[in-house]
Structures are given as structure tokens and as C-alpha cells.
């Protein structure tokens, strides 16, 4: 099957249990929201993987591009003071 006769692509996010974040687990083709939810349910939650599903049109996601990598992420490489472990705690501090 060629790609241009398929339904739109949706990204699927599954929450393993209540209170935890939804994790991206893959994508499905579907003509509408309900079909996307049902296809995601059939593909990604057959083995007890989750208790909630989000689907979002892939085209609605804005992504940074590979060329942005340097400008976006490298500047933080040499700034270890942004990690809390960089700092030594004064002795008197009990709860952090």
C-alpha cells in the first residue's frame, strides 16, 4: 500500500497508571478522533499497558529540527550549575 492513500497519521500517548505522565508509544492511521482512539486501544493497550490514551494529529505537533540541535541544546552542556547536584548543602539543611 502506498502512503498517499492512507488516513491521516495520529500520535499515540498512553498513561500506564493514574498520576503518571502519558508516554509517546507510536502512531496510527485514522480518519477521525474516535477511530484514532480505537485503533490506538487495539494496537497499544492489548497487554494491560495503560488506563488512559491521548491521540493527537501528527500534523499538529511542532518539532525542533535536527539543524537546531547545536543552537538549542549545546549551550547547556557547560553549565553544570543548572543541576541541583552542583551545589553543596550547608550542614544545617535537613529537608531539600
Amino acid at each position: 500500500m502506498s502512503t498517499d492513500n492512507q488516513f491521516p497519521l495520529w500520535e499515540v500517548f498512553v498513561q500506564a497508571k493514574s498520576g503518571t505522565p502519558h508516554k509517546h508509544c507510536g502512531s496510527v492511521h485514522a480518519a477521525d478522533k474516535e477511530m484514532a482512539l480505537q485503533n490506538a486501544r487495539d494496537l497499544y493497550t492489548r497487554r494491560n499497558e495503560g488506563n488512559n490514551i491521548w491521540v493527537v494529529l501528527s500534523s499538529a505537533i511542532t518539532s525542533s529540527s535536527p539543524e537546531d540541535m547545536g543552537a538549542f541544546f549545546e549551550p547547556s552542556n557547560d553549565k553544570p550549575y543548572r543541576h541541583p547536584t552542583f551545589y553543596e548543602l550547608p550542614e544545617g539543611v535537613k529537608f531539600m
Binding site: N39, D42, L43
Partner: protein
């Protein structure tokens, strides 16, 4: 007619419904309209076959002659099956499969809801488990009926013709035999006739939402599956389904 015989007859009827429909749906495997729906359809097939297995196992217990789920599925002839005729009909196009699924799932939904109140603990437990699966089947195929019915001119034409073609086989789902009477009286099973109104309500809502035309409620209906009357399609299905078991009896893999 003893209660045991009546109960066995009822259980086999519903086990056969699920097995035969599950087998029909499994024929879509690798032929689905697209990958995701191929998986969804075979998922439903597996649910049906799983429900059939539970019921056949219980049928073996009720009968007490040591027959297993496999004996019921693979070692009976086609005239011994009492599945509703609609479950054995060929898949047709995706519209026909979808219409059959709507009629059957709505039926299984109302039946399982009522059967959860059975005075028979095993049947009640079966219905509680099955009804969660059935709810999903109904939701899945209802959305398809609406999507195709309220879709393009071609999909609407096909969906309407599928509904009209299968309608005469729907009343057969609700057939009651004289053996059912004792089971209905002591609360083992619901009176199927009393479930029809709720079924009509569900399918009418879906068909109307799909902008399709409801068939005539008083139109001619095929009957007789409870006494082993079937279409020619069943014998071919059974022949294929049982071919490996009969060629290699007792084979394990």
C-alpha cells in the same frame, strides 16, 4: 425435558454464535481495508472465540460426559450447530461485515447485560466478563456504520444495501424454544423476546445517526437456526474450520 438438557441447549446456542462469528471475522485477517482495521477486526474475532471457549467448557461441565471445548467445536457436524443464521453468512464487502457486527453486537450487548443477573453463577460471571468486550465491539462497529452511512455516495449506498440485505436474519437472533421456558421461569436466562425492544432502540439510534433508512420492522424474517436450520454457507465454514482436526485427530502443536 430436564433442566440440564435445556441449559446445555442454551449454552451451546450462544457458544456456537460466538465461534461461528469469530471464525467468519478471522477470515478478514490480512485482508482488512487497512492495517489498523485488520488488527481491530481480528481482535474482535479473538474476543468472540474466547467467549465461545468459556461457554463450551461450561457446556462440557453441564453435560457431564467429559466433552471438552474442542469436542464441541471440532467434532460436531454442521446440522448439530445451533448458531443464529446471521453469524454464518459470508463476509461480503466491509459494509456487510460492519452491518452484521452492528446487529450481532447490539444483540450480544443486551443479552449480556441481562444475563449478568442470572441465578446461574457461571453464566452471570461469563456475562460480566463478556459484556465489557461486547460494549467495545458495539462502539467500534457503530462508529463505522455512521462513518460509512454518512460518508460518500458510494459508502452510503453500500452501507444501506448491507443493512437491507441482513435485516431479514435479525429476528432469528431472538428465537426462543420451548426448552427455554423453564430456564426463564427460574431466572437462569432472560426472556430473549423481552430484549428485542432495547435492541431495536440501539440499532435505530445508530442507523438514524448514520443518515440511513431503518428497514421495515414487519418485513419477512428467516427463522429456524435453533432447530438446526442453516444456509448452505455453514457447512463450508465448518468443513474448513474442522479440516485440520479431522485430518490429524489428536494432533498437538
Amino acid at each position: 425435558m430436564s433442566k440440564q438438557t435445556a441449559l446445555l441447549e442454551f449454552i451451546l446456542r450462544h457458544a456456537d454464535n460466538n465461534l461461528i462469528l469469530g471464525h467468519r471475522l478471522s477470515e478478514w485477517c490480512s485482508r482488512g481495508p487497512f492495517l489498523e482495521e485488520d488488527i481491530a477486526t481480528t481482535n474482535i474475532a479473538l474476543d468472540n472465540i474466547g467467549q465461545a471457549r468459556l461457554l463450551y467448557t461450561y457446556a462440557g461441565e453441564v453435560e457431564g460426559k467429559g466433552r471438552t471445548e474442542d469436542d464441541f467445536a471440532y467434532w460436531r457436524t454442521h446440522e448439530q450447530f445451533t448458531n443464529a443464521i446471521i453469524t454464518e453468512l459470508p463476509n461480503g464487502d466491509f459494509g456487510v461485515t460492519t452491518a452484521r457486527q452492528l446487529f450481532f453486537s447490539a444483540y450480544a450487548y443486551v443479552l449480556n447485560e441481562a444475563l449478568q443477573k442470572s441465578t446461574d453463577a457461571t453464566l452471570a460471571a461469563y456475562a460480566t466478563k463478556a459484556s465489557k468486550e461486547t460494549q467495545y465491539h458495539l462502539r467500534h462497529c457503530s462508529e463505522w456504520v455512521v462513518r460509512l452511512g454518512d460518508g460518500t455516495e458510494e459508502s452510503k449506498r453500500r452501507m444501506q444495501s448491507a443493512i437491507d440485505e441482513l435485516w431479514p436474519y435479525t429476528n432469528d437472533l431472538f428465537a426462543v424454544t420451548s426448552n427455554d421456558t423453564t430456564l426463564i421461569q427460574d431466572g437462569t436466562i432472560p426472556d430473549l423476546k423481552s430484549l428485542k425492544a432495547k435492541w431495536i432502540e440501539i440499532v435505530t439510534e445508530v442507523i438514524t445517526r448514520a443518515t440511513l433508512i431503518m428497514p421495515d420492522l414487519n418485513a419477512f424474517q428467516h427463522e429456524g437456526s435453533r432447530i438446526g436450520k442453516h444456509t448452505e454457507h455453514l457447512s463450508y465454514l465448518i468443513g474448513e474450520m474442522q479440516s485440520v482436526t479431522r485430518a490429524y485427530p489428536g494432533a498437538k502443536w
